[in-house]
């Protein structure tokens, strides 16, 4: 179907990048933009991480020591907003930018100027969000879900926060349109849909979820804005509205959003595990169908976030069973990865360590998710640290681990240099031990009844909180190693071969390391 051949404007053949700062500001190149996304995500990861450390410092002991409760609440709120919209999503988009054109044999993304626009909105959006800390009333402190009426009590920063979400949403929608169009329109001849690498497949479905749900979030926060400033009554019972309605609209976005945060991770793991097991992925087509099933189910499970807010019993039952059904396609994926490793010639380089860590710990998060899906049990778990432990297992040891695995896996391809394998393994082991010290005790805290989003707690929770905080500081500081390893790899190191990894399969490994500025000037033939 595709006729992709050479690129760009006629007389500029094989031009390299422009020089200086303007290269990065005006670039239309998918690799430059991918790099910008990844660097931005890394910066946001550290700002959001610093906020997490403020939270853990305050919770180190019972009583109020470090910050006042309002600031503590804004830390939990903005930590979440930064990590979700500023770190994980841009990191996945950065990976999509770098990898999708190389994996499908395209010269670049389909709409290169819009690609630049998608990225460069983000620094402005997050500057707006962070600027609210310096305004009267402080940063958002009502939780990242922005439930009214609490979120409407924010000070001068409120409209800035809402518009920051709008801008980030515009960025996501444009980025997703670009991804879908690139995948559907720019594949090399012979690259049929069912030959695409799973990272491409998972991103195709993720982009669909984003385009379907980000506008719904935009609608929800617009209603918040007009409720506060224009006198509408969407979420006010006195006017016939309903605050619970916000939660339904929000979670109609919010639940697909959690799959937006994990589906690309599935794609990454599906690339890494076969490479280091030196076997083709077990059950490729079932992986594709499982991804599509998860995406479909993600639209009909949203109210499992709301079991305790008040819903007819029929609703509770429907959302409980629908949620449990997600375990089936997710289980298909886990078993496929394990089957891929079965009798493989395994080696355990850093990307593989992170991938296996992902499989083990994401599964823990998946199981605690199943527990939360049981509506009567959720009445006990809701808004406790059990929920915090659950979603950090799927987001930190899930999504973030996959991003780190991807960084180690593809960094030699991107830079042409091997990373320091020894340091990489140390990074993995320190991270993995500390992240479990950080989050596993939170299961116990939650089951014992410790509520989330509080700066102080009863003394019986003191021991596990202290242990969790120690794990948090070790995990947070050990991520400086990650930055150092990336920095060192960019600067130099042992030269990587084109194939980089012995078992690597796919079009991106046929390009040189580092790849040329424009990926495939002549479309490869895919057999």
């Amino acid at each position: 179907m595709s006729t992709a051949t050479a690129t760009h404007d006629g007389d500029h053949h094989d031009h390299g990048p422009a020089k200086g700062l303007m290269r990065w500001i005006t670039t239309t190149n998918h690799k430059d933009i991918g790099t910008l996304y990844l660097l931005f995500a890394l910066i946001m990861f550290f700002i959001g991480g610093a906020m997490a450390l403020v939270i853990r410092a305050e919770l180190f002991q019972p009583g109020m020591q470090v910050v006042d409760p309002q600031f503590f609440n804004s830390m939990t709120t903005v930590h979440a907003l930064l990590m979700i919209f500023g770190a994980v999503m841009p990191a996945f988009t950065g990976l999509a930018n770098w990898l999708i054109p190389m994996q499908i044999g395209a010269p670049d993304m389909a709409l290169p100027r819009m690609n630049n626009f998608s990225f460069w909105i983000l620094p402005f959006a997050f500057t707006l969000l962070l600027s609210t800390f310096f305004m009267s009333g402080g940063g958002p402190a009502g939780g990242w879900t922005l439930y009214p009426p609490l979120s409407l009590q924010m000070g001068d920063g409120f409209p800035f926060m809402i518009f920051a979400i709008h801008l980030a949403g515009i960025s996501s929608i444009m980025g997703s349109i670009n991804v879908i169009v690139t995948i559907l329109n720019m594949r090399a001849p012979g690259m049929t849909l069912m030959k695409m690498p799973l990272f491409v497949w998972t991103w195709l479905i993720t982009a669909y979820l984003l385009i379907a749900t980000m506008p719904v979030l935009a609608g929800a926060v617009t209603m918040l804005l007009t409720d506060k400033f224009a006198g509408t009554s969407f979420f006010s019972a006195a006017g016939g509205g309903d605050p619970v309605m916000y939660q339904h609209i929000f979670w109609f976005f919010g639940h697909p959003e959690v799959y937006i945060l994990i589906l690309p991770a599935f794609g990454i793991i599906s690339a890494i595990v076969p490479t280091f097991a030196r076997k083709p992925l077990f059950g490729y087509s079932s992986m594709v169908y499982a991804t599509a099933s998860i995406a479909f189910l993600s639209f009909i499970v949203w109210a499992h976030h709301m079991f305790t807010v008040g819903m007819p019993v029929v609703g509770e039952l429907f959302f409980m069973y629908a949620t449990m059904m997600i375990a089936v396609p997710t289980g298909v994926k886990i078993f496929n990865w394990v089957s891929t490793m079965w009798k493989g010639s395994m080696t355990f380089e850093t990307p593989m360590l992170f991938a296996i860590g992902f499989i083990m710990m994401f599964t823990i998060g998946g199981f605690s998710g199943l527990m939360l899906a049981i509506a009567p049990a959720d009445f006990q778990y809701h808004d406790t640290y059990f929920v915090v432990a659950h979603f950090h297992y799927v987001l930190v040891t899930g999504a973030v681990y996959s991003i780190m695995a991807a960084a180690y896996f593809w960094l030699p391809k991107w830079t042409g240099n091997m990373y320091d394998e020894k340091l990489g393994r140390i990074h993995f082991w320190i991270s993995t031990i500390s992240v479990n010290v950080l989050f596993f005790p939170q299961h116990f805290l939650g089951l014992a009844g410790m509520p989330r989003r509080i700066p102080d707690y009863a003394v019986q929770f003191a021991d596990w909180n202290m242990i969790s905080s120690i794990g948090g500081f070790v995990f947070g500081l050990s991520q400086l190693m990650f930055v150092w390893i990336i920095f060192k790899t960019i600067r130099g190191g042992e030269k990587a071969t084109d194939e980089v990894w012995e078992g690597a399969k796919g079009l991106e490994w046929t390009l040189s390391s580092p790849p040329p500025y424009h990926s495939f000037n002549v479309a490869p033939e895919v057999k």
């Binding site: 690129t7 100027r113 515009i170 559907l184 379907a212 609608g219 509408t232 309903d242």
Partner: protein
């Protein structure tokens, strides 16, 4: 293809996206300050909007120039088409959020306030005596008593206008594909006029609602859903009309040929989309 190039066109680099980001940021900073009651807010918002308009002229102008120079092959054209379709899908989902709010209020939250199902104790203890089903401004009678807009006056006329505009733009498209440029321009002008008349009626309706019916944005959940749905729709009709004016001008300058006219089709799709949204509005906001 008359205008095909043999390679996929990847622009070298561009200043427009960063101008767009800065313009949008200035605009929203202005709007936020305006909401907060700062005197500089409004003017900052207008500066931002002016920059957005400048950026759109510049960016689309650059794209039009490249298209006229024949730098886009069939594959580039497909990218634009698919991009536009997914953009319209995202717009559909934006409206879905507001339709969802309308359905939720009518089917669930208002009946619950009235004491149905799980809402019995809410009605007895919090809102005793509240017995007004849709249309309602809630148990607090927020915004005061109001009357609703009848469906079979101006709104029905507006429905006819938009449906007619869907026909006129299709005639224009057939004329374009037949290579009859003069006929294309005439039917596009007719479409633009229908859009402008629609907007005029809509403005008249708002004035009527505010002055005679006391139906305002602050009239509880009814006023909220009525104005936000029709307001966002009207905003989209305005955008669509502006887009129609541009392609009319471009058609008059013979930018399009029977095979190569993505801009025309993109605008036509957008116009049909606002048309369909209006049908949903007419049924669920006005008639039912």
């Amino acid at each position: 293809m008359a205008h095909s190039a043999d390679s996929y066109y990847v622009p070298h680099s561009s200043y427009w996206p960063i101008i767009a980001s800065v313009a949008l940021t200035i605009g929203v900073v202005g709007a936020a300050n305006w909401f907060n009651g700062n005197s500089t807010g409004q003017i900052t918002l207008y500066i931002g909007l002016a920059l957005v308009a400048f950026m759109m002229f510049g960016w689309f102008g650059a794209v039009i120039n490249e298209s006229l120079k024949g730098m886009y092959n069939e594959q580039v054209d497909r990218s634009f088409r698919q991009g536009m379709m997914w953009f319209i899908f995202s717009e559909v989902m934006f409206f879905a959020a507001f339709f969802g709010a309308l359905f939720y209020a009518r089917a669930l939250s208002v009946p619950w306030l009235l004491g149905e199902g799980i809402g019995m104790s809410t009605n007895m203890t919090l809102w005793a005596g509240y017995g007004e089903n849709w249309p309602t401004n809630g148990p607090g009678n927020v915004g005061g008593d109001f009357q609703t807009m009848g469906a079979w006056g101006v709104p029905a006329l507006n429905t006819a206008l938009l449906l007619a505009s869907g026909v006129t733009i299709t005639i224009a498209h057939h004329a374009l594909k037949a290579g009859n440029n003069a006929k294309t321009v005439i039917w596009l002008v007719a479409t633009v006029l229908l859009g402008i008349i629609f907007l005029g009626f809509q403005a008249y309706e708002y004035i009527h609602a505010y002055h005679d019916l006391n139906l305002t944005l602050e009239s509880g959940i009814y006023g909220s859903t009525f104005y936000m749905l029709t307001g966002f729709h009207g905003f989209h009709v305005t955008l669509g009309t502006a887009m129609l004016i541009i392609i009319t001008w471009r058609a008059a300058k013979s930018h399009f040929n029977p095979e190569h006219h993505f801009a025309f089709e993109g605008v036509a799709w957008y116009w049909h989309f606002v048309d369909v949204v209006w049908l949903g509005l007419f049924i669920f906001v006005y008639v039912l």
